[in-house]
């Protein structure tokens, strides 16, 4: 039986998501090794063409090509394995419904990636993210004022950060901060794109990203120098 807990949205136009105008803008490509900026390989292009005509095996092949990236994205954005699995399923279900509308205006991986982000955002909105975390992040919180990040020079990060420590710190971020950090610093979207996706101001996006990094800095310093907390 299908396991998704999320209602589906009707396929409309060529947009991979319900909130985003068609076609979705390509995210920032300032990272030369970023996978979504690459042209699809011939095997993927062939599978895509066949999947668009209803070839189930071709769709399964597309799933195998993109499952890791989509699942990882969902997992990082929600920080919960069960939810990430449900959201991955919903993303590929939406892909199945809408794949025939893909016209190649952007790379397929970009289109699918944006579709998955929209699926996650829809779910987060249902949970009240935009009403809580985004607004909350704009409110000045005393302990998060500018002075909070003051610290003695010997408490600065060493210049290299352990990946697992960073993973843990990101997972512990409040949902709103985590979302902005993942979209900007990990996935490479620009603030104007994030503002459009999250329906917030560009300034809000910049502010939240900054606060997310400050929180990560505090967490990583605490992790690397536990004696400093005593």
């Amino acid at each position: 039986m299908p396991r998704s807990r999320y209602p589906s949205t009707p396929p409309e136009g060529t947009s991979p998501g319900v909130e985003v105008a068609t076609p979705p803008p390509a995210p920032a490509t300032n990272r030369v090794t970023f996978p979504r900026a690459a042209s699809p390989d011939p095997a993927e292009a062939d599978a895509l063409a066949r999947a668009q005509t209803g070839d189930h095996q071709a769709f399964a092949h597309l799933y195998s090509l993109h499952k890791r990236r989509i699942y990882s994205l969902c997992l990082r954005m929600v920080g919960n394995i069960a939810e990430a699995e449900d959201l991955t399923q919903e993303a590929f279900l939406q892909l199945h419904r809408k794949i025939a509308t893909f016209r190649g205006d952007s790379a397929f991986s970009t289109w699918l990636h944006r579709l998955a982000i929209n699926v996650v955002l829809m779910q987060l909105r249902k949970k009240g993210l935009s009403l809580i975390s985004l607004d909350e992040a704009m409110e000045p919180v005393p302990e998060e004022g500018p002075g909070r990040s003051f610290g003695a020079p010997d408490l600065t990060l060493s210049g290299t950060i352990d990946r697992l420590a960073l993973e843990r710190a990101v997972a512990d971020l409040p949902a709103g901060y985590r979302l902005i950090f993942i979209l900007h610093d990990v996935e490479g979207y620009e603030h104007n794109e994030i503002a459009s996706m999250l329906e917030c101001s560009i300034g809000n996006s910049k502010s939240q990203l900054h606060k997310a990094r400050l929180r990560l800095r505090d967490a990583l310093r605490a992790n690397s120098l536990p004696e400093a907390q005593s």
């Binding site: 299908p2 699942y71 560009i202």
Partner: protein
């Protein structure tokens, strides 16, 4: 509050920092940073974190049985619309 960047307090500088970084301005060249070790360290840390974020590209595979759930859901949907995956399998190349 001062209009002279060189005479900014740390609080004033850090209040501007999100906009400076977000706008792609080289904050390390800001007059306040040149003379402030604390803010210089803060900026270095934030840059290190942003750089480290690139390590967080996809590394996790979904569970093996997820595809079977998706496949089941697809077949269920196709059944609802009186279509068949088995019928719609052209293999033109």
């Amino acid at each position: 509050m001062t209009n002279d960047p060189a005479k900014m307090s740390c609080a004033e500088f850090q209040a501007q920092l999100p906009e400076l970084i977000g706008a792609g301005v080289d904050a390390s060249a800001h007059p306040h940073i040149v003379n402030c070790e604390l803010c210089r360290a803060l900026l270095a840390d934030l840059e290190t974190i942003a750089e480290a974020a690139r390590q967080l590209l996809p590394v996790v595979d979904p569970p093996e049985d997820l595809w079977s759930h998706i496949e089941s859901a697809i077949k269920s949907e196709d059944g609802d619309t009186n279509s068949s995956l088995a019928k719609a399998a052209p293999t033109t190349n």
